[in-house]
């Protein structure tokens, strides 16, 4: 008992610290789930649209992404009363991911991060047990997961989409909580193993990625056994609103308890500040490279560059793998149809002709398929470019982050000029941005290798045409940092606007002018590149705009005060 002395007080304290962060997470998760569920109601007015959706979901590539399909053995048996089930099939994995991310951050924040900062040392010098902090954090996570699960279930019951059952709503929601809690326990373990908070959370996320991959493989190949290895696979195995199995939840909970027990045993025995894996001895001298501003900027950005390279490769490959099935998607899924055929009159006419004259299929099917693939790849590129913008913004803005932490003074107190430091970050951001785009292209190429629907040259050129878009976003960011660092978050508003108009523009049938007002909308698309119909003018104009923005931003930065 002395091991957890002070548990009640410290739990109250965690509650106090978490009241905002955890509340926002809770609200977002519940709201997201509820909004999508409500949208699902409208999505399937009749049995036909329902069956089309199920057909899409049954494709191996789709199962790899969202998880197994279950329910009536024949698609024709799906009816509008199955909305809740189809919703669970499509959404549960994403809800579990959100919950897992919340839990990883939560536990890491209260355990290894606090320990690294010396806060836990203060607590442990009081009459508090060795396990007080860990147990309080874990109990809080447990309570929070239950809270979220119950509220999610109640919200599901409240909006009551067709086919909702009490058992289904609770099984679905508790699968979210159970997988989340398991990852809370996994993070508690990585927090014991690694000496710093970054490694602890990075490894928890790496495990999440691996487990996602394992279950994707299991669901795609049908080798169910791999699903039992992955907590995500296990969580999806509840088959909510159908079989409503409770066993997977019990297994997940027991696994969590075992991991928590191991973590606590380690925690009770180890020295404060140590991990099971001792920190590597650092270099005695800085390498020649590190001693330059560029070297420093690289060292501080390396981690995120590598992480994004991997992400983009994976993302490209995932999308690429789906491209082969494109015809099926377009046929069965209204949303895809809108996305790929919408606005392309030539393709629409071709498809119509094919539908009316099945005997022409031989001759034109391939052409139609290629066209659809091209349109889809063009869309993927937009997403890739938008995603690549995130690290480009954070890396080009790193100088401001460093400034806020008071680490920039120390640099500028030495003979380093402001533009040299700033431009070092910009160089990494831009070269990084190009690299991320190319990785996306390579991923797509790898994914389409079997179907042969795209050529490497076209893919690479298309990825590079988005560099001016990234440059403009960088330019806006630089200008904000130089002129008005207080409102620098505005860059995310620009980003959000671009994302929404570009991503949802076609789906929601927004006026074409809206996406055209973003740096992404005016660039030659993949389809233009394939048809060699490249409008070089927009590239030149965007590059010029970005140059003006960047130069003015850096000049402003040279003249303003450095915050301390």
């Amino acid at each position: 008992m002395t091991q957890v002395k002070g548990f009640c007080l410290y739990s109250k304290f965690i509650f106090r610290r978490e009241r905002i962060t955890s509340l926002i997470w809770t609200m977002s998760i519940i709201l997201f789930n509820t909004v999508v569920a409500a949208a699902f109601m409208q999505l399937f007015p009749d049995d036909v649209s329902m069956r089309q959706m199920v057909e899409t979901l049954s494709m191996p590539a789709m199962q790899a992404i969202v998880g197994p399909i279950y329910g009536p053995s024949v698609n024709m048996l799906y009816a509008s009363e199955h909305v809740a089930m189809v919703f669970a099939q499509e959404m549960l994995v994403f809800m579990m991911l959100a919950s897992v991310i919340m839990n990883i951050f939560l536990i890491n924040r209260h355990t290894r991060a606090d320990e690294e900062l010396g806060r836990i040392e203060m607590i442990r010098s009081l009459p508090a047990g060795r396990l007080t902090v860990s147990v309080s954090a874990l109990v809080f996570a447990f309570g929070l997961n239950i809270f979220i699960s119950v509220l999610t279930a109640l919200a599901m019951l409240l909006i009551n989409i067709a086919g909702t059952t009490v058992a289904g709503a609770f099984i679905y929601s508790f699968a979210i909580g159970a997988v989340g809690f398991l990852f809370a326990c996994i993070t508690l373990l990585t927090a014991q193993v690694f000496q710093n908070a970054r490694s602890a959370s990075a490894w928890a996320f790496a495990l999440l990625g691996i487990f996602y991959g394992v279950r994707a493989y299991a669901d795609m190949s049908g080798e169910i056994i791999f699903n039992y290895i992955s907590p995500l696979g296990l969580g999806l195995h509840v088959h909510a609103f159908h079989a409503n199995r409770i066993m997977p939840l019990i297994i997940l909970f027991i696994q969590g308890l075992i991991l928590a027990f191991i973590s606590l045993v380690i925690c009770a025995k180890r020295d404060l500040g140590e991990g099971v894996i001792p920190a590597k001895k650092g270099r005695r001298n800085a390498s020649v490279f590190l001693k330059s501003p560029l070297g420093l900027a690289w060292r501080l950005s390396k981690g995120s560059v590598i992480a994004w390279v991997i992400t983009m490769l994976a993302l490209g490959a995932t999308y690429g793998a789906v491209i082969g099935d494109i015809g099926g998607f377009v046929e069965t899924n209204e949303m895809f149809n809108q996305l790929i055929v919408g606005g392309d009159e030539e393709l629409a006419a071709l498809l119509e002709y094919l539908a009316e004259n099945p005997e022409a299929a031989e001759a034109f099917a391939e052409e139609a398929n290629k066209k659809m693939a091209d349109n889809f790849i063009a869309f993927i590129y937009l997403i890739t470019a938008l995603l690549a913008t995130v690290p480009v913004i954070t890396i080009s803005g790193k100088i401001n982050a460093e400034e806020k932490r008071g680490r920039l003074e120390g640099i500028f107190a030495r003979s380093v000029s402001r533009p040299a430091m700033f431009c070092s970050y910009l160089l990494i951001a831009i070269v990084g941005g190009a690299l991320f785009m190319i990785c996306g292209a390579l991923g797509i190429y790898a994914g389409t290798a079997s179907s042969g629907l795209a050529e490497a040259g076209d893919l690479i050129s298309a990825s590079l045409t988005y560099i001016p878009s990234l440059l403009v976003m960088t330019g806006i960011n630089v200008l904000l940092i130089g002129l008005a660092p207080k409102i620098k978050a505005l860059i995310w508003a620009v980003f959000a606007y671009s994302f929404i108009t570009v991503y949802f523009g076609k789906l929601l049938d927004l006026p074409e002018i809206l996406p055209k007002m973003t740096p992404y909308g005016v660039i030659p698309q993949y389809t233009d590149i394939v048809s060699r119909n490249i409008d070089i003018k927009s590239i030149i104009i965007l590059t010029a705009i970005s140059a003006v923005l960047t130069v003015s931003g850096v000049l402003a930065f040279m003249r303003r005060d450095i915050k301390q």
């Binding site: 007080l9 040392e121 010098s125 508090a128 020295d271 500040g273 140590e274 001792p278």
Partner: protein
């Protein structure tokens, strides 16, 4: 009774020996200055005392009980102030003080003492910790340490962020505690502070104790030399531990 008794304490971090047979005693009602160059092992010794790291060998006792095994029980009687205080950025200083005091007592903290020390250290407890300077964060730790009724104060370079005025107030606080019969282990680099406060001195270098004794005797023994010169001779690799150095 001995308040602190450390015998032949060895602490290894992997292959590196941070403490190599440390002996340290503190009797009730005394102020013991714990000195030594950076990286000598002061903080490591203190962390072993707090039972947050485990001795590789040797024994570490407070109030006659093992510091690791009985950590929770012993911590009721001690107050600790680290040299580098890190607090929760979105909580106020007052909230953190309350947490520390509540966790010590388990009951209601002594509001009067709390207010008294907040006044003395001129701390604004309504500000978020993120806005505090290093000195102000230190004050939060000092207020919660002094406002609680401890028998032993373990202070690891507690004045490293304070201005001279606050340093003086800190010295007053230490003297008052000593008058009340409390004991203090004070790790410090500041000669004047040590000279003013300490009854005894112990010096560590590279994980070994190289000198210990009563303050007045040492001053007498090194008659004619300043305390600072004496320390420098002990800190220095070549001069340290060399008794002839006493001259």
């Amino acid at each position: 009774m001995k308040v602190i008794e450390i015998k032949e304490l060895v602490k290894k971090f992997g292959r590196f020996t941070a403490l190599d047979g440390v002996n340290l005693n503190l009797d009730g009602g005394e102020v013991l200055a714990f000195m030594g160059p950076n990286g000598a092992g002061k903080t490591t010794t203190i962390r072993a005392l707090l039972g947050i790291i485990r001795a590789t060998s040797g024994s570490v006792e407070m109030f006659g009980e093992d510091a690791w095994a009985n950590a929770v029980k012993l911590h009721r009687r001690i107050s600790f102030v680290p040299g580098d205080v890190n607090l929760w950025s979105n909580l106020t200083g007052g909230e953190v003080i309350d947490l520390f005091m509540a966790m010590r007592k388990g009951g209601k903290p002594d509001r009067k003492r709390r207010e008294e020390y907040i006044q003395r250290f001129e701390l604004d407890p309504s500000k978020k910790c993120r806005t505090y300077s290093k000195g102000n964060r230190q004050k939060v730790a000092l207020v919660s340490a002094f406002a609680s009724d401890a028998d032993l104060f373990i202070l690891d370079e507690p004045t490293s962020g304070l201005d001279p005025l606050m340093e003086n107030i800190f010295h007053d606080c230490i003297r008052e505690q000593k008058k009340d019969g409390k004991s203090v282990l004070l790790s410090s680099h500041i000669m004047s502070e040590v000279e003013k406060l300490a009854d005894k001195i112990i010096i560590i270098r590279e994980g070994k104790i190289v000198e210990s004794g009563v303050m007045s005797e040492i001053l007498e023994k090194f008659n004619g030399r300043t305390l600072e010169e004496f320390f420098l001779s002990k800190y220095n690799k070549n001069g340290g531990g060399d008794k002839n150095d006493a001259g």
